[in-house]
Amino acid sequence: MSTSTLRIAMVGLSDRTENAIKLFLEKNFVGIDHVGFDDAPDCIIFDLDQPIGRSRWKRLLSATRRPCTSILVSLSGYGDADCKRMQKSCVSLRKPVRLGQLQEALSKLQGRRLRPAQATSALDKAIARRKTPVAAQETAAQAEEPKRPPSLHAAAQQLPGKATPLHFSSRTQFDPQDLDTLKKAQYDPAQYFQGYLTRLLAQRPDKQGTLTIWTPDGQIRLDLETGKANVHLSKYRFRTLCSIPSDPSHPTPWREVHDVEPPSGNPHRKETSIQGLEWIAAIWASRGRLPQHLDAQRPVHMRHWPNLTRLTAIPHAMNIAALWSQNDFSPLETARLLRIDPRHVFTFVSACDAIGVLQQAEPDSATESPPPKKRRAHKHRSLLGRLLAKISLFTNREDD
């Protein structure tokens, strides 16, 4: 990781707002790296109107007296008091946040020594090395016409639905040769809802009866006999539930009860399979990272293809599965051979591992596959590529 990179995390913001901010930062600053809350960011933007944003801000405050640079966003100025107390390390903004305000906040935080010197200097450098002097441009524009900068919502409207790979906790590609970075691209599934679900299902090998998982935002009903799951949670809440690691010092936000029906009439009720639930929980826990019990450099063996027509789509999943159906390759080798971002492979590995279709040989076992043979392209590759493009027009269904 370059010392001049500014690591920014966002907590509790909607996808569109997050995308809009990312787009804005990328257009106006260089050296910005979008990371997860747990990836030691230099600056965090919290949405305090969301329970997750509020609880994480509180947790950050209780964990350290001098948290990293924070921008608190809320409708009612919920973070004003905290900011007054924190003074230099915190800026509170009221919604609707405008890009100009955000830029001003970042500028305001410029030069403040809140984190290790490196982080502050990264912030300074990133702001100083703006590709375009947006502040100057805006000042000039405002002098000419009293036009306010566009709101985040307006900027988000310009984004296509899936403009950024939301599966990832970091947008910056990592260097596969850098072992330290590789280690950071791992996570412990046991700390996430994914691990909880795995443990819960492992306790019921007889696959009899039903289970209801209660969370603060809704319920998940598992029918073990039929393999069906009913999720009484909005897509957004469910993703949040799966993406946040549980805190060992606090009780988990979920618990299971037996033979209790969730309240009826939830508009977000969605039926899926238990396997589909494990799959999507792993995707949101992984977010481009590899489960820590798997090695990015050792070959993995796919027992069989996942039922990809009934599971949430992962970019390049078909290519990866097709490659693994021919031979065993390590996740990194797979990314290299297919010329794709390793984070797509890691997400796919994580999801396959969660539903039990993947295994990895022990490091000292003799079952490691021989060096991969040079693959030859199909003789009708060009035609097949055109056919693939044609049928892909019909494979874009709404994700879970």
């Binding site: 039929t226 393999g227 069906k228 399979s273 796919m302 027992r303 069989h304 293809w305 039922n307 990809l308 027509t309 009934r310 078909m318 290519n319 990866i320 599965a321 097709a322 490659l323 693994w324 159906s325 021919q326 051979l337 297919l338 010329r339 693959r375 392209a377 199909h378 009708h380 590759r381 060009s382 035609l383 097949l384 590529g385 055109r386 056919l387 693939l388 493009a389 044609k390 049928i391 892909s392 027009l393 019909f394 494979t395 269904r397």
Partner: protein, 179 residues
């Protein structure tokens, strides 16, 4: 001129004609006849020679879709239809209790063609069967040591059938990119 063909096969009632109708850019030519053994096969009409549809590409090329007749007494058609084919799609009716045996039969009948090309397996009628598990088909593949794509599909759904076709194309060449 070289004809690019994709072959659809599977037992009677597995949805081959419907699958081709879902994917074809032109009205499908069917050779349906009233089935003399309709009580046994569970439907009144069945394909006796072949089904034919096509996918038209922007470049002006055409990929032909051929569906084989499902009944074994028409198996002389199978070899004729597969000549020059680029891949095989097998559809299996999940509501049939012996569906895994059907799969075994068709994998064996087309083994030479599969070895030369690739195969993707679509499991149809899963809404009619009580359990969604695909285990019995995966066990069948384990038995012969193969890892072919096996997907639940609804033959009426173009999206499902396109996914299955994508599985077939990428099995032919995993590094394939859209062009």
């Amino acid at each position: 001129m070289y004809h690019h063909k994709i072959i659809f096969t599977g037992p009677v009632g597995s949805g081959k004609t419907t699958a081709i109708q879902s994917l074809s850019d032109v009205p499908v030519v069917c050779t349906d006849q009233r089935a003399s053994d309709h009580e046994e096969i569970g439907k009144t009409n069945t394909t006796v020679a072949m089904d034919y549809g096509k996918i038209l590409l922007k470049s002006g090329e055409t990929v032909h879709l051929y569906g084989t007749p499902g009944q074994e007494r028409f198996d002389f058609m199978w070899e004729i239809l597969t000549q020059g084919g680029i891949g095989l799609i097998i559809l299996v009716d999940h509501s049939n209790p012996n569906a895994h045996e059907d799969l075994r039969f068709f994998l064996s009948a087309f083994s030479k063609f599969i070895d030369e090309t690739a195969v993707a397996i679509g499991i149809t009628h899963t809404d009619k069967a009580p359990l969604p598990s695909l285990d019995r088909y995966l066990l069948e593949l384990d038995r012969i040591g193969r890892r072919y794509p096996v997907f639940e599909v609804d033959a009426r759904d173009r999206c499902d059938m396109s996914h299955l076709m994508e599985g077939l194309l990428l099995s032919l060449d995993p590094g394939l990119k859209q062009s």
